[in-house]
Amino acid sequence: MSPTRPASLLWLVAGFGLWSTALILVYALHAVGCAFVWPPAAIRLGLALVLLAHVAALLALIHHQRRRTVNLLLQVALWTLVAALVATAFTYGPLLLLTPCV
C-alpha cells in the first residue's frame, strides 16, 4: 500500500463538493430568474447549462481517477465521485421538467 499524501484527502470531498456548488448555483439562478420574471425557457436553459457543466466536471474527475485506485482512500474517492454523479442527476434532473415559477 502506497503512502497517502494529505492533499489526496481533497479527493474525498471533490464529488459532493461539486454537488453542493450545483445546488447553490441552481438555487440562486432559479430564485433570481423567478424574481425578475425571466422567461421560463431562459431559466430552464440556464439550469440545464449549470447541470451540464457539473455533470461534465464529475465525468472528467471520474475519468481521471478511474485507474488511480492504488489505496483505499482513492478507491473511496472514486466511489464518492460516482455517487455524486448519480445524486446530481437524480436530485436536479427533474428540475428541467417542472414548472419553474408560479
Partner: protein, 185 residues
C-alpha cells in the same frame, strides 16, 4: 404510505431477527450482498417512485393563475390572524378560517408587521407571512372537520399563543356561512 412504511419496517426487522435466530442463513449472504441489496437495490425500488409521485402531486398543487380557484386572504399581525373572503362579498374572520371540503383554495398570505408563518399541520406545510410580499399557498382539505393552526415563525412575546382554528365544511355550507358573515351589518 403508512402501511407501505410498516411493510418495509417489518421486512428489515425480520431480516435482523433472522441474523440472530438463524446465523447460518445470515452467513450465506455476504457483506457485499447485504450492502448492495439493502443499501442500493431496496432504496432504488422504493425512493424513485415516491419522488415521482411527490413531483406530480406538487405540480398539480401549484397555484398557477387563472384557474378559478377560491381566493382567501390571510393577514398575520402580532398576534393574530385575519382571514378575508373577497370571492364571497368580502367577509372577514379573526383567528377562524372557513374552508370548503374537497376543493382547492388559494391562500394569499401576508403580514402587516414582522415575519410570521402560516401552518396547519394536518392540511399543508408552512408558508411564511412576510410584510410587503404575498405568498400563495394552495391547499385542499379532503374532509370536513375542525383543524388547528399555529404561527410557526417566532414573532414576539405572543408567538406561542398565535393560534387559529380551521372549520372545514361541505362547499354549500361553506358558501352559506361565509355569505352570511358578509351580509351581517
Amino acid at each position: 404510505m403508512f402501511f407501505g412504511s410498516l411493510v418495509l419496517f417489518a421486512l428489515v426487522m425480520v431480516a435482523l431477527a433472522l441474523t440472530f435466530l438463524c446465523p447460518n442463513w445470515a452467513r450465506r449472504v455476504s457483506p457485499a450482498q447485504w450492502i448492495i441489496g439493502g443499501g442500493l437495490v431496496l432504496p432504488a425500488l422504493v425512493l424513485p417512485p415516491l419522488v415521482a409521485w411527490a413531483l406530480v402531486a406538487g405540480e398539480r398543487l401549484l397555484p398557477l393563475p387563472g384557474q378559478g380557484v377560491t381566493r382567501i386572504e390571510v393577514v398575520a399581525e402580532q398576534f393574530g390572524w385575519q382571514f378575508g373572503y373577497p370571492d364571497q362579498g368580502g367577509a372577514t374572520t379573526v383567528n377562524l378560517l372557513h374552508l370548503p371540503a374537497g376543493e382547492p383554495v388559494d391562500l394569499h398570505i401576508t403580514s402587516t408587521d414582522v415575519i410570521h408563518s402560516f401552518w396547519v399541520p394536518q392540511l399543508a406545510g408552512k408558508l411564511d407571512a412576510i410584510p410587503g410580499k404575498t405568498n400563495v399557498l394552495r391547499l385542499q382539505a379532503d374532509r370536513t372537520g375542525t383543524f388547528y393552526g399555529q404561527c410557526a415563525e417566532f414573532c414576539g412575546i405572543g408567538h406561542a399563543f398565535m393560534r387559529f382554528e380551521v372549520e372545514v365544511r361541505e362547499p354549500d355550507d361553506f358558501l352559506r356561512v361565509v355569505d352570511g358573515l358578509a351580509a351581517e351589518p
